[in-house]
């Protein structure tokens, strides 16, 4: 199957899923139910695109397939920030800052974290992926523990607000956040649209890409900044995603059959949208909200990922 055929097939599949998602059991209620669902659909698409693009680009610039921004602690930092906000200012804090305020501050925070990773961590474990992985996991754990410690200090009301933030879900988004998200993602995609060939070359590693005339340090900075924005959007829209980014990226590589980013990125987005749509349809109509999207996705993707590892030996 040629790449174009693959991408069109997936697009068709997604359209079909989207229609099912919008219309199933709706009684064609165009006044309330369908607009509500449409909002969720936009959230899913946006969150999925952010997750897939950030994971694949991150894996390319660090040169391996078992890391993702969430493993490197981006999401933990976001949660820590939300918990701190609740501790210091209470639920009023979230109100005061407003949706846009929180969103912009989150992006700033992610950018700062990205910069810190770039300055402090990446130079120290240049070629040692496992060191990086270990650092990432430990960082995530430490930040997570600090967050838990803060949770003990906040009131039960605030705690329930925090709980809502710390699970993957498509129900919490409000229109304002979504439109900011659309704006941010559109900007990121616009900035990076011309640089896909650069990413392809960067997959050859730092030295080979410098030999081919790429200002490697500059592009790493640029991509880490773009990743920070995407992660901020996806985390504020759909919550932490843990290992889903790794699953989605690797499923995309397996399906794409090419390392070219003009193939892997669209397929990654399509895979991610399809998985989340299917999971959400199941959660809403089969399990009746008794389970969550993250449990379903982790279950299905986890099994697929294991099968993949066993079959192709060596994901790294």
């Amino acid at each position: 199957m040629s790449q174009a055929v693959k991408i069109w097939t997936m697009l068709l599949l997604i359209l079909l899923l989207a229609l099912v998602f919008l219309l199933i059991g709706s009684g064609l209620d165009f006044d309330y139910l369908i607009p509500k669902r449409f909002m969720r659909l936009v959230t899913i698409v946006l969150g999925s695109v952010c997750l897939a693009v950030s994971s694949i680009v991150f894996q390319t610039i660090v040169g391996n397939r078992i890391l993702s921004p969430s493993i490197m602690g981006y999401e933990a930092v976001y949660l820590l920030w939300q918990a701190l906000l609740l501790l210091v200012m209470g639920t009023n804090g979230l109100m005061m800052l407003g949706v846009s305020g929180n969103f912009i501050v989150s992006i700033m925070l992610m950018l700062v974290y990205s910069w810190a990773l770039h300055r402090l961590l990446l130079p120290r474990c240049k070629s040692d992926v496992f060191m990086l992985l270990l650092f990432g996991l430990v960082l995530t754990m430490v930040i997570g523990t600090v967050t838990q410690f803060i949770q003990l200090r906040i009131s039960p009301g605030e705690f329930s607000v925090f709980q809502g933030l710390s699970y993957t879900s498509f129900n919490r988004s409000n229109p304002e956040t979504v439109w900011y998200g659309v704006l941010a993602v559109a900007t990121v995609l616009w900035v990076s649209r011309k640089t896909l060939p650069v990413l392809d070359v960067m997959a050859l590693g730092r030295e080979q890409s410098m030999s081919l005339g790429i200002n490697h340090a500059k592009y790493v900075k640029l991509y880490l900044a773009l990743i920070a924005i995407l992660v901020a959007v996806s985390t504020s829209l759909i919550g932490p995603t843990a290992f889903m980014g790794v699953f989605i990226a690797n499923i995309a590589y397996a399906l794409a059959g090419s390392s070219k980013h003009k193939v892997t990125l669209p397929i990654g987005c399509a895979v991610s949208i399809a998985i989340f749509l299917i999971a959400q349809i199941f959660v809403e109509h089969v399990f009746n909200y008794k389970t969550s999207v993250s449990i379903l996705v982790n279950l299905v993707c986890g099994i697929y990922f294991l099968a993949l590892t066993v079959r192709t030996r060596g994901i790294t």
């Binding site: 391996n64 060939p197 080979q208 410098m210 030999s211 081919l212 005339g213 790429i214 490697h216 090419s258």
Partner: protein, 258 residues
């Protein structure tokens, strides 16, 4: 011409290269030889701009390379290090087309395609053209990476141990290709190499480093002598020359010295 002047590199207090000054002749194959840790790769990496010298400078045709842009430098000097080991799902042709990146930034022109075809023909890779890199043998993959470097159409090629892990046949193929690049196309080839026999038989010039300093340099015919090599490697050598080349024998002589 690439020249290095008073080049010095140290990590913390440990100095790996001290006060090396050299001029690499244009249009010739030059081999950098020496024991492990002599600073050969360090020198090559600094010439490739992949490593910053602690002091001293490298210049290309009289211009300091630190003052050139990365994208401009890629038009003059191509570097090949050991090919990355991770699974790149790319065809040989796709890899070779990366060699054109310095010129076309990813959208290939007709001229680019012509150069890619040329590089493929030069190394006789036509039969592998549409094969995926992760399905090739180490030798074939190294040929593909070399073809990418050739397609970059630079005057100077820097190669870091291009024969690493290759069998004799592929090693000979690579060395013959480098020889032809130099003889037929007038390119300057500088490589780090461990096999003294390949160095002695295929290169015009030899530069020997030991403990971060220049040990000797000159044309292969001049400097490949038992005394020089024994001094360099701390091994006894016997040099056997005939009309088909020279053989440096260091097996089972009186053994390791000192």
């Amino acid at each position: 011409m690439i020249t290095v002047s008073n080049l010095h590199k140290s990590y913390g207090k440990k100095s790996v290269l001290s006060d090396v000054s050299l001029a690499f002749p244009t249009g010739r194959v030059t081999s950098l030889i020496g024991p492990n840790g002599a600073g050969k790769s360090t020198l090559l990496m600094m010439m490739a701009r992949l490593l910053e010298p602690s002091s001293g400078y490298v210049s290309l045709d009289g211009r300091k390379i630190s003052e050139m842009r990365t994208s401009e430098y890629a038009h003059h000097v191509a570097t090949l290090r050991q090919s990355p080991g991770f699974n790149l799902r790319l065809t040989v042709e796709e890899l070779i087309s990366f060699g054109r990146f310095p010129y076309s930034r990813g959208s290939l022109t007709i001229e680019d395609r012509r150069v890619i075809d040329e590089a493929i023909n030069f190394l006789a890779l036509e039969s592998l053209r549409h094969d995926y890199l992760d399905e090739l043998s180490g030798g074939q993959r190294q040929m593909a990476f070399l073809a990418m470097t050739i397609a970059q159409q630079t005057d100077v090629l820097l190669l870091d141990e291009p024969l690493n892990n290759l069998d004799m046949k592929h090693a000979v193929q690579i060395m013959q290709a480098l020889r032809r690049l130099c003889d037929e196309q007038g390119r300057t080839v500088i490589l780090v190499i461990h096999d003294i026999n390949f160095a002695a038989n295929y290169s015009d010039y030899i530069v020997a480093l030991k403990n971060g300093a220049l040990s000797f340099s000159g044309t292969s015919a001049q400097v490949v002598t038992a005394t020089n090599l024994s001094e360099l490697y701390d091994l006894d050598f016997e040099i056997i020359r005939n009309e088909r080349g020279c053989l440096c024998n260091y097996f089972n002589l009186s053994g390791v010295r000192g």
